[in-house]
Amino acid sequence: MLTSSVRWGGGSDERPYLPRAISVLAAGDGQLSFVLEVVGPGTERLVELGAGDRLRLLGPLGKGFTAPDGDRRAVICGGGIGIAPLAMLQHQLLAQEVELVALLGFRDGAHAAGAKLLAGAQIATDDGSVGHRGLVTELLLAELDRDARAVIYSCGPPQMLEAVRAISVASGVPAQLALEAPMACGYGACFGCVVKINDGSFRRTCLDGPVVSADQLATDWLLGEGQR
């Protein structure tokens, strides 16, 4: 989903100018919910919105997660602001009675408050203030050791996605990664949001993503992660 408010521009550094690509947390009853973290002038402006302010939306855009095939269970592994699409995914998978576990990583206890957006999540924090002290990918490895008949669903900081990609490729457990890329348009016009795939070419995240299969990404896809 691309968002911009009617009063756009004129913020920090005379930005924002372009709309921002943001995942949906929940949809229904004529309402859409988003999770925002202020990381730059765009999100800064969006959190300033109050009741009755108008928002321009374009979407839904791109390809989302797909449910696991056959008897595989879902292992949701995410962190930070990336938990929003995972919360929606969990909601949908539970409605389809898919067996699942949710593993979430955060910087610290304050950020870990977001874990309540998912049901029954195991938590890891960098500082150990909540749950496992360490990386969420350590929880992921333990979970795959327990039962590797799974599909990994991941969204979070680029370095975390890269760790999940590497685990998926090494273990052969398929993973669906929701990428974040700065984009100008969201509908394939600007060619700005590309990610490098394993044949060395570039694909538009807005059209062929944001969810991509881990085995499709080039091993050096992480180079070129963008501006906020």
């Binding site: 100018y17 372009l18 709309p19 394939g188 060619f191 490098k196 570039f202 070129g224 501006q227």
Partner: protein
């Protein structure tokens, strides 16, 4: 509202800037409504080169105050891929098709022109001259004499109307436009992006963009585009397709008042895919 662009009748004066709208992708996203409410009176393809290009490594975008620096790198399937895959789909559009091409020398441009010559689906050719001369490193379109040499060598390779897409990165764009006029161009379009640098906030002195340097577009360049449009209009009799930060009917009107017959919407379509349609409708009300 209809306008004549070197013999091509357009229903209204709003088209797209090359490389700022992908009809094939937009049909996937918007479905049949795209064609039903197609905002442009002609469609300009992205730049086609002889050989396929994958484009520049990311990051490709950098947001600036009221604008955007891009370093996309002209990704395209190459001439053969364009003719086989893209052209048949673009030809189903209800509006005239303008194919934008770029070559690094007269042989390449001539080959591109000749390959497009027999394709009736193509109403006109737009030549992107923002291509560095391999020998001098200067953009071909930055030097009137060099542009003249190129056009003199290729002009008779096509009978289609030839639009020269001028670069703003030159000392005097009116001199370059005059050279295009004297060398057989049927129209000029301007402005292309202004050469720009995006600094990597984490690595002082280093470029942010994967391609190194980039081009500035968006509202930030509108006043520059308007000045260049006026200068070119004063220098040549050719029809002018003007663009550069156009975001509303009111500021689009300023380009028509400065002497353009057609205006193109580019970066504003990124911000809002309905922008060009609104500009078209707004111009009709202003008229």
């Amino acid at each position: 509202m209809s306008v004549d662009l070197c013999g091509i009748e357009l229903a209204h004066p709003v088209i797209n800037g090359s490389g700022t709208f992908d009809v094939i992708a937009a049909r996937r996203v918007f479905g049949a409504s795209l064609d039903e409410q197609f905002p442009f009176s002609a469609f300009v393809s992205k730049t086609i080169t002889l050989q396929p290009r994958i484009g520049n490594p990311p990051p490709r975008l950098f947001e600036t105050p009221a604008g955007l620096v891009n370093s996309i790198g002209l990704p395209n399937r190459g001439l053969a891929g364009y003719l086989e895959h893209d052209l048949p789909e673009l030809a189903t559009l209800a509006v005239p098709l303008i194919t934008n091409v770029m070559g690094s020398n007269a042989d390449e441009v001539g080959e591109l022109f000749e390959a497009l010559e027999g394709r009736e689906e193509i109403a006109a050719i737009e030549l992107n001259v923002s291509c560095p001369n391999v020998k001098t490193g200067l953009d071909i379109g930055s030097d009137p004499a060099e542009l003249h040499r190129l056009l003199a060598a290729v002009r008779d390779k096509t009978s289609k109307p030839l639009i020269v897409k001028l670069t703003p990165n030159t000392a005097d764009v009116a001199l370059v436009a005059s050279a295009a006029e004297a060398s057989g161009a049927d129209a000029v379009s301007l402005i292309n992006t202004l050469r720009a640098f995006a600094a990597d906030p984490a690595q002082p002195g280093k470029p942010w963009l994967g391609g190194g340097s980039g081009g500035q577009s968006g509202a930030a360049i509108r006043a520059v585009a308007l000045a260049q449009t006026s200068a070119v209009a004063a220098a040549v009799k050719l029809p002018i397709i003007a663009m550069g930060g156009i975001s509303s009917a009111a500021n689009g009107r300023q380009f028509l008042d400065a002497g353009a017959v057609v205006i193109a919407v580019g970066t504003e379509s990124f911000r809002d895919p309905a922008a060009a349609g609104a500009i078209r409708d707004g111009l009709a009300q202003l008229a």
